[in-house]
């Protein structure tokens, strides 16, 4: 029900943004429906479909809708989502390589519970392989840390 409501909300926002569908914009070719027609009606179709889904969910409640199976399943997902967010946010300061060292090392230590040398290997080998593949072989430059301008290599 919540998912359908969110889709209806997105549809409403998109339809509001495309309200120009009811006016002919200057420069529109004869016969053309204009730039707002397509997003407006796509949003309308999406909204109607979501209302129908929501109605059916209300009439015949779906057990899976809106609920996680167990507390463990929520924890499993959050264990991946929170570090992923922090990893992506840290690019701005740590750059790609330092962030990846921390990220891989964290998983090896926290989820894998490896010894220090295992954590070190997991944390360094992945960024090294990515450096060799992306920067050396494919010449794609990845973001560096704020220390890079001070002479730090990563």
């Amino acid at each position: 029900m919540g998912t359908a409501a969110a889709i209806v909300l997105i549809a409403a926002v998109a339809m509001f943004d495309s309200r120009g569908v009811f006016t002919t914009l200057p420069g529109t070719s004869p016969g053309d429906v204009g730039p707002s027609w397509y997003p407006f009606w796509a949003a309308a179709l999406m909204g109607v479909a979501a209302v129908f889904v929501g109605y059916r969910t209300m009439v015949t409640p779906q057990p899976a809708e809106g609920a996680f199976a167990t507390r463990e399943s929520v924890t499993s997902v959050l264990k991946l989502v929170i570090p992923m967010f922090l990893y992506a946010f840290s690019f701005k300061w740590l750059g790609f390589y330092l962030a990846t060292i921390v990220y891989m090392g964290f998983f090896a230590a926290y989820l894998g519970r490896y010894r220090w040398w295992g954590v070190l290997a997991a944390a360094t080998l992945t960024p090294l392989a990515i450096y060799l593949l992306f920067e050396v072989a494919f010449r794609l430059i990845l973001p560096k840390s704020i220390f890079y301008t001070m002479g730090f290599p990563l």
Binding site: T3, A14, P39, Y87, F96, Y110
Partner: protein, 519 residues
Amino acid sequence: MLDVLGNLGGGFATALQPINIAFLLIGVTLGLVIGVLPGLGGTSGVAILLPISVVVARGDIAGANSTTAVILLCGIYWGALFGGVITSILFNIPGEPWAVVLLFDGFPLAKRKGKPGLALTSSFLSSFVGAFIATVLFTFFAQWIADKALSFGPPELFAVFVLSFTTLVGLGAESPIKAIAMLALGLLLAAVGFDTLTGSQRMNFGNIQLLAGIGFVPVTIGLFGIGEILASAEEQGIGYMERISARLGFKDLFEALGALRQRLWLVVSNSVIGFLFGVLPGHGATAASFLGYGLARQYAKDKSEFGKGEISGIMGPQATADAAGVASLVPMITLGVPGSPTSAVIMAGLFVWGLQPGPLLFIQHQDFVWGLIASIYLGHLFTFLICLAAVPLLASIMRIPYAIITPFIITISIIGSYSLNNSMLDVAFTIIFGLVGYWLRKMKYPLAPLVVALVLGDSTERELRKSLIAGQGSIGIFFSSPLATIMWVLAIVILLLPVLRMLRARMTGPSVRPPAPAG
């Protein structure tokens, strides 16, 4: 006929160049690895490596070009088509959605009957035969389809797009209404940014970065790559997995060949049906695999062995799935309409490399098309041989600890999305759509219509408006040719199929529904 053989010869000359062979081997090996990993599907594997294919296509590596890039991406797909079955058969965990059907008979044959080698070789052999038959059909009919497609104008092309959207809704989708919602969401996302005909801004809410639109690559990496990892984290966690050691010997191969000879009619007919099914835009190997299983059951005299390790329950769906996988490239190459989510991502690659999929591709880029077709033959041969040789090694990938493989896949997904435009906004899209994909999957919203609509949204709108401009605003233009009218009628019939199914179900009472296809 001679023309086709001549072109195919030229294609082999292209595909057999050392650089193309090298990338084909890299592709199929990566595909096998991706196929074995339950957290990663063929579509997400192709999507994650799309940025690398851009580097390959622009010729940064000596001798490589766009043909090398498409060979790499398709190699991943072929590898994943084969590799996905390994975990189904050995661990009872499908590596790919199209390998789910092998849980019915593959795992029982491996475990209960103690024949993992026979189960694997039967699967590889039928995959190879199915793909080979489909590639022969592709070779001889793709040009014909492309020639016919050249006579298409905007109304016909718009009808093709509508038909491909309706097949996503009408055939196979578990909930047609949810499929419509996802389709419309894809069309809406495709509309963000500049309007291509008038240059007006729309749906960017004042954000300058959104004027470039929402790229389908970061979205696809998020929906399939990150989304699948989150979904499998929730469903499976880090638990005990039942494992069977696998070694393949010549005995298994001969036994599988004997089984194939007994079921030759089933494998050949399922391959042809798989090809025809895969050519329909919007379908992939998953739906075909269930169709193939149903047909195998239908043909069997003794149905009691199904579900207990019946070889027909492996060979039937595998031949159909691989044939459909190959066939899904046909509408992508000839009409510019992807036949499956994976081919939608490969088509995204063609756009990024500066190629326009569609009938003109056969005229303007003959080397590319025939090189690709020849590489399909080689790709499947290599995959088959690698599979036979490397099953124990591939099975050991499953033993890479979760704490290493999962962050590694997320890291590769994020770099893949960043490196396309050096944009952190794309990284944000990948993460957001990763969460969205996970949630939609959980709520049983199909993702394939969203991706196909996102990829085709711009072209659909362009052809719609070009038609209306040509017809001075009259909708009669959409029925101006018999071909367009036929496609509209077909689209309406397909769209009405779920309604007819529902009415029939009401009239005949409740029935058991087969598992819904996912990709």
